[in-house]
């Protein structure tokens, strides 16, 4: 029997089938081969040849500096010319990608995760459009993209991608990304929490050609403008991104002229490989061990629920594995799921800004890190699941990564920055939309999302409202500028929210209060998309406390602008005073979780939220009492809070410390702690339950069994590797059912038959 002939025939058959399938592809949907791979591409023959040709690493370094400078130039152009609030306040980036699509150099400013995910759509273009006769990739072409299913955080971020050619040969790619906000979704602002399917999420742009000969095609532009609420913004920022990319292309061509395209190719490859080598070396310095941690999401942004993000980080040799097994399954009709690249990108952001901030900003930094996830979970959702609020799950992923790695860093003698407790991780801000005072239709958000409180450090307090977890040098803006463009005022804009401090030897950086109210429009509304109104979204570190939890508060049935003119003394500049004292007659006072769906506001109604605190570091009993007094003086905490949490004694009028009494209080409290202590086995016996509580919708693994996950009910336990769909009932239907039940009960009591014909 001739085995070789048979094998050859089988191979031939397979090839034929593959060709047939390729030729008959119905839809070039998201490609798992591209989407699941975050590592840099293998070295190509061309790259090998260029690296052989250019071995002077100082020349390579010089080219790299020029490319970095070009990225900064592109960044500044986008920041200056961009029309989206996100562009103005730093939610942008520009980057240069290798011919194979790997992000090699990103601008120093901006949101790295944007660029770090654009390698996916570029690889899609390379795989599908270069050889496609109806598309093709030519010099002067530009591709637009926003769909997270092809590689993005969420669909509100739009990218422009340009190939760079030299004498007809593709050498590299450049791209620019902006958090645009409005994208035509079911709610304004681009991040709808109401989305129940991907079709509620607005524009879903797989990578497609929108620029030819360096000009935006007017027919496609018109289609895109017609699909969103802000046609002006869509136009302006497409142009901005295109010109920033063209400027990058120009600078790259200058490198071609001085050093040659092969030198550039070598530079890009050397850069990525050098970073991978360095990251592996740094990983090797960490101790071999496993750290387990978790966070709990307390809402779907539509209803209260507890959803677990579970992580075990294992380091062995130069391998570092992030294992998210045991994480909550995806919710089939809720928007808080994320595509796998979004989660990975956010972990990458943790490495770039919080672990090794000296690393160059590119894709290679994360390349050596391995991930374990189960498809169909919150951090690795299916392509059909909505993910417009993916920030929820990716921010929690960031936090667990930050929390776990802090323990490795603490044990590692070579640190590249300070060990710190988790940063606040939620975008506590107002998303808004409607018609402004100038008659323009807008949909976007306040830059306050950039004011997340910093985590406490190993040797100092966290900084208040310092930066979002996903960017550096981001800006919370100026209200005087905002008020020119939007029809609402922030009556309280930047006032520290008292007693929201995460306590610790070093306390977390705190957040501030925002009270907004529509003034000059009768077509305006707000939404908020944040978790953490019941369970804190972050933990403390080494005995430090978690940040507080903050509800969303509203006052309706008033026109505060009338009150401010006629009875200004009634208005208070703090949420607790307004909500506790209820100073306005006939007003309705509401509190709810921070997932406020888009709410049409009437003039003068109040919407009130607070930014959150970063985690505390170390035991609060070890906090220097003088720092506590300073916090009281600055209005960050009250005397009650200080005494309760820090066990400190002082004169409340003069704030004079009694150090002796403080020592005694603390010693007594330590004794009390010891007395409360029980052996571990006893603790487990008393506190650890076999199943989640029956009265709380819980999602995720329980008691370390990561092979199974609960799906919202103690009776619904599923295979973690194949959890299947989970549909959550629309809150209005839940409410209707509750009311119907009440009505039924009343009817039954009154002896009136039910009118529900379905029964």
């Amino acid at each position: 029997m001739n085995t070789k002939v048979n094998v050859d025939t089988e191979v031939q058959d397979q090839e034929l089938i593959q060709k047939f399938l390729k030729d008959t592809t119905l839809f070039l949907g998201p490609d798992p081969e591209i989407m699941r791979d975050h590592s840099i591409m293998p070295r190509t023959e061309k790259e090998e040849e260029c690296m052989d040709k250019y071995t002077d690493l100082n020349q390579i370094s010089s080219i790299r500096d020029r490319l970095q400078s070009a990225c900064e130039e592109g960044f500044e152009m986008v920041e200056q010319m961009g029309a989206a609030p996100g562009a103005k306040w730093g939610d942008i980036i520009t980057g240069i990608y290798s011919a194979s699509g790997d992000l090699t150099i990103g601008s120093a400013g901006g949101v790295l995760i944007f660029s770090a995910l654009v390698h996916h759509p570029i690889k899609f273009i390379i795989k599908n459009w270069i050889e496609e006769k109806t598309v093709g990739v030519q010099e002067g072409d530009g591709f637009i993209h926003n769909d997270s299913r092809y590689g993005n955080v969420h669909n509100t971020d739009q990218s422009m991608i340009l190939p760079v050619f030299h004498e007809g040969k593709l050498i590299c790619w450049v791209a620019s990304t902006v958090h645009e906000g409005e994208n035509g979704a079911i709610e304004p602002g681009g991040m709808p929490s109401m989305a129940e399917t991907s079709f509620d999420e607005g524009l879903k742009m797989s990578p497609f050609k929108v620029v030819e000969g360096y000009e935006i095609k007017r027919d496609i532009l018109t289609f895109l403008q017609n699909s969103v609420r802000e046609p002006k913004l869509q136009y302006e920022d497409m142009k901005v991104k295109l010109f920033a990319c063209m400027r990058l292309e120009k600078r790259i061509k200058e490198v071609f002229a001085t050093d040659g395209p092969d030198a550039l190719t070598a530079c890009l490859r050397y850069t990525n490989e050098s970073v991978v080598t360095e990251v592996r070396r740094r990983i090797s310095e960490w101790p071999d061990m496993t750290v387990r941690t978790q966070t709990i999401m307390d809402s779907t942004l539509r209803e209260n629920a507890l959803l677990k993000i579970n992580l075990a980080v294992t380091k062995k040799g130069d391998r570092l594995i992030f294992d998210f097994s045991g994480t909550s399954p995806e919710l089939t009709n809720r928007a808080i799921n994320t595509q796998l690249p979004g989660m990975k990108g956010m972990v990458g952001q943790a490495f770039m800004n919080h672990i090794w901030p000296d690393l160059p900003r590119g894709q290679a930094g994360l390349s050596p890190v391995e991930f374990v996830t189960q498809e169909g979970t919150l951090v690795d959702c299916s392509y059909s699941a909505p993910n417009s609020q993916s920030l929820m799950s990716i921010f929690h992923s960031f936090t667990v990564a930050q929390h776990a790695t802090a323990k490795f860093l603490y044990s590692c003698p070579d640190k590249y920055t300070r060990v710190l407790a988790p940063w606040h991780n939620m975008i506590n801000t107002f998303i808004w939309g409607g018609v402004n005072q100038h008659g323009e239709t807008l949909g976007n958000l306040c830059a306050d999302l950039n004011g997340m409180g910093g985590g406490a450090r190993m040797d100092r307090d966290g900084e208040h409202a310092l930066s979002p977890i996903f960017a550096t040098m981001a800006d919370i803006g100026e209200q005087e500028m905002n008020e020119e463009e939007v029809p609402f005022l922030q009556l309280v804009s930047k006032k520290m929210t008292t007693n929201t401090q995460a306590a610790g030897k070093y306390r977390g950086g705190m957040g501030y209060t925002m009270i907004a109210s529509t003034k000059d429009s009768d077509q305006w509304g707000f939404m908020t998309t944040t978790q953490g109104s019941k369970a804190p979204t972050i933990q403390g570190l080494f005995g430090g406390y978690a940040g507080g939890s903050y509800p969303m508060c509203r006052v309706s049935g008033i026109d505060v602008y009338d009150i401010l003119l006629k009875n200004p003394e009634q208005f208070k500049h703090s949420i607790p005073e307004i909500m506790n004292e209820q100073p306005f007659e006939n007003a309705i006072y509401h509190t709810q979780h921070m997932g406020l769906g888009f709410d049409i506001s009437k003039r003068g109604e109040l919407y009130m939220i607070s930014q959150g605190s970063g985690g505390g570091y170390g035991d609060p009993l070890e906090r220097d009492p003088t720092y506590i007094i300073m916090d009281i003086e600055e209005g960050l905490i009250t005397a009650d809070y200080a005494k309760k949490l820090y066990k400190v004694e002082f004169n409340e009028e003069t704030l004079a410390l009694d150090l002796e009494a403080t020592e005694k209080l603390r010693a007594d409290y330590r004794d009390q702690r010891k007395k409360q202590g029980v052996p571990y086995a006893e603790f487990v016996k008393k506190h650890v339950k076999d199943t989640p509580p029956a009265d709380i919708p819980f999602y995720g693994s329980w008691n370390g069994d990561v092979d199974h996950v609960y799906a919202g009910s103690v009776d619904d336990k599923r295979d973690a590797n194949n959890p299947g769909p989970i549909y959550v009932t629309h809150p209005k239907d839940v409410r209707i059912a509750e009311l119907e039940a009440e009505l039924d009960a009343v009817r039954q009591q009154a002896g009136i038959p039910s009118t529900d014909t379905r029964k």
Partner: protein, 716 residues
Amino acid sequence: MKRISVDIGGTFTDCFVVWNGKYIETKALTTHHNLALGFNEAVEKAYNELDISMEEILAGVDSVRYATTLGTNALIEHNGPRIGMLVTAGYEAMVPLSRARGYGEGLDELGKQNLPDAQRPVPLVLPHMIEGVRERLGFEGELVMPLDEDDVRHKIRTLVDKGAQVIVVCLVNSVVNPAHEKQVERILLEEYPTHLLGSIPVILSHRVAGRKGEYVRATSAIVDGYLHSTMYHAMSQLEQNLRSHSYSKPMLVIHNSGGMAQLNSTDALQTIHSGPVSGISAAEHLAKEADLGSVIATDMGGTSYDIGIVVEGGIKHYDFNPVIDRWLVSVPMVHLVTLGAGGGSIASFDRMYNAVAVGPKSAGSDPGPACYDRGGMNPTVTDADLVLGYLDADNYAGGSIPLNPKRSLFAIEETLCDDLDVEAVEAALLVKEKVDSNMANGVNTELRVRGYDPEDFTMLAYGGNGPLHCCGIASNLNIDKILATPMSSVFSAVGAGNMHQMHIHESSLFMVLYDSTSRKVFDNYQRFNDIVAELSLRGKNDLLRQGSNADDIKHSLELDMRYGNQLVQTTVVVPKHSLESVMDVMNILDQFSTDYGKRFGEGSQAPEAGIRINTIRVASYVEHDTVKFTHIKPVPQAERIAPPAPSGTRSCYFIDSGAKAVETPVWNKADIPAGTEIVGPGIVASEVTTYLIEPGWKYVSAEQGAVWFLRAEAKN
């Protein structure tokens, strides 16, 4: 023309005296305890040279002008008064939070990226010294909540009880309606009248900065309040000193806007960086006088590399929100960028890329480069320059700092050679290549984000290390012409001597020239004209108050414009100062389009999104006589003379000749007459700097101490 201009720096007080066509450059050590002493010493050298008395010289000059870094130093030393602050209630944390990004303002890139290390600077106003007052105005200045006077009185007393020595007031939207800020001032003056010893100075934000942006306006007012008394006392001391020596005219203070004014018309904030800005002003004047076209002014010292842009045609480059020390403020300041690269920049091995890195850390002047022999162990740019033979170890800085080449060699070998697997000379060449390239990248970015190409510029090089590295930097930029400036040792003082009296007034507004929603073009000409007239009048009154002739006063009109809702505001200089027709509006739109296209690329304009004016600015000025730069241009090739015999030779190493030593002739600058051409390689040494003529470049001396570096292959 008879004039004295002074640049009081951290180390030296530079003085430039013009006396009947004679130009005298002198220097003295800055005397921080009493600035007048350093000034007197510097002037003494001048009047000795002129052989007249101090009284005679001070009685004879038309003006005495000061540029000073005093304010910058006071900020860094943090020795200002205890400030109390009143803000709109609900905005109490506005200043402490510093727009979030405040932690990184004034830091290098790593400082900005490193979030776990982030720390906001020590505040100028302590958080518990900030109180909110109950009031609110809307974006058009409309009343939203009336000012609660009782609340204001209570808050003022609270601050004074806590020890406030100055009260700064910044209320939201006060630039469009200052009524509430003025009301606070009135209350404060009622409570603490100026005739009483316990009076409290008050600073209103709308008087310090006229633009929207409550945070940057607040920091501007704070910096102003913080520096006010320090500056006032120091400057008064100077003025008193002048008075006691027969000077009877007003003392003029240089502003960072590129103009100057009398002391009583100067905010402390306007004096910050006035020294470097004077340098740029001198560059501008030099460019005009010598017909240099556009110039990039570069000042490379021991720790920093300052870059300024002067573009042909009079377009001024301002920073409207410059960072002063660590504070983002709102003041129209001549654009100036400082890179952390100088002779003291430390070289290191970049483990990630197996290459040399230079900076951003600097050895400063203490301990300084390894060769200073003051304990510095890190190799610096100066060490590399010494190893490469560019510097004379015995005559560095006029012989005031003896250099130890062995220390340089040791530091380079220890830090770089093993890792790079190269010899010390090769490592030093890599350091030079890297620092030149870093500075070139900085210049590149500066020019290119504004739409300019370096090749179209002449580079001006001054500062102690400028003429040493300028050829290397220019080579990276494809620049063919470098002018090492005349009177370079007191160049900023020369700039101060050329400035015009000027006041800038601006109005922050929302003026739509094209409304894309209604598709209407602006037609409210009266509104525009009234604003321009009012701003011009304010400028005119400022100058009249200082004794200027009404006929001498001129105005320049600038509009900050933008498309749609962009952040960028492009400044358009408008020749016609009133609108009378649609054509006038169209002319403005055309000019905006042209300027914008130049910067961001033709076709990038987006008029379809709407066009508006955000700021109208009027600069009112009186022109004065200026210093003449004569025969600065290089003489034609045929007229150039050969250099005298060199005073010696040194073994030098250059990038293109690798590790092979090149015997390089060395001259003393004093021996080289104007019109001399030296083809590189070569070294010309002076007391204040070293002129390194790299291979491929030639040195052409001109009058007044100016030196040209021209590419050998260029046509000049």
